[in-house]
Symmetry: C3
Amino acid sequence: MLRQASDTLSIQAPRAGLHEITDEICSWVRATGIETGLLTLFCRHTSASLVIQENAAPAARRDLEAYFEHIAPEGGAYEHDDEGPDDMPAHLRSALTATQLSIPVQGGRPLLGTWQGIFLFEHRRNTPSREIAFHLVGE
Amino acid sequence: MLRQASDTLSIQAPRAGLHEITDEICSWVRATGIETGLLTLFCRHTSASLVIQENAAPAARRDLEAYFEHIAPEGGAYEHDDEGPDDMPAHLRSALTATQLSIPVQGGRPLLGTWQGIFLFEHRRNTPSREIAFHLVGE
Amino acid sequence: MLRQASDTLSIQAPRAGLHEITDEICSWVRATGIETGLLTLFCRHTSASLVIQENAAPAARRDLEAYFEHIAPEGGAYEHDDEGPDDMPAHLRSALTATQLSIPVQGGRPLLGTWQGIFLFEHRRNTPSREIAFHLVGE
């Protein structure tokens, strides 16, 4: 019979940019005891986001960070800068990536591809602690 | 025991741009009587989308609208313009943002962060009525 | 009573760009016998993605492909190019679109709008076979 599990985890990235959280997520799924189902991750912020990307090549990670710095740059003609020059670019980069990800679970693990890692994409330089809500339905 | 609820709501934005629909969504969730679960919103269109963003600062909303007007502009060299100059930019802005959002529900409410609001991002100037499909699984 | 179904399908696009997979997805949903629920599609790759777009106008599809070639171009100053010039642009285009889509199901069909089609967005020129994980919860 289907059941659900849910939780909220606090995660703090060591610096702005991509911070891999695959291990934390796999541990949480394993602890629920649910073998088959659907996992959802939800980022409770508008200046950080979630992204699934290549987890083998650090150069790919640096290119991805540089790309978002380029297409949603600091120093643009933004009206909103209450919290500093990285405030509005953080909202833009969040809107361009994902606030939420859902991943099928099989054999007690998220069904990621060989090269996929799950990343918190921290867009602020002061890297506040971030809350990620977890939900898993399955059996 | 888990159960589900689903519905389709028609929403018309007053003008192109970000139109907050958090209240409509919270009301719908409350009416289902489901306390804990997973809410999914699905936009049944390719020229409007969904976005979770800062709901406190109107300036952030204006900057976000201006940004998407800038990176997916009207007047580009588009082949497809059956429905006017805002037709193809609308498809591009939809592809860059989200057609669907899933949000964990706790205590009968979507587990949004303090500053998060849910917005219909209307990309057409004539602002047709839009259908948003709702699904909630939980108990 | 709610139940779930899941599967992984291999799909190979004939060329880089948007490849419609709506029919394959509808067939799979129908075969599960689930009438009402939530379908999730998950792309197990970081150089291909999923997108819901206009499925009537081939010109819209060409414009969308050209747009992503323009904003995440080959020939940029990328550090990561292990697999050739289309490697890093593929990761960027994936990050800008969706790795996962969830769609409510009603009457045994995904609740797509009239003009919506589901596309595999293949970002590599060699078009490897891609695995899409399916999950459906409902009754």
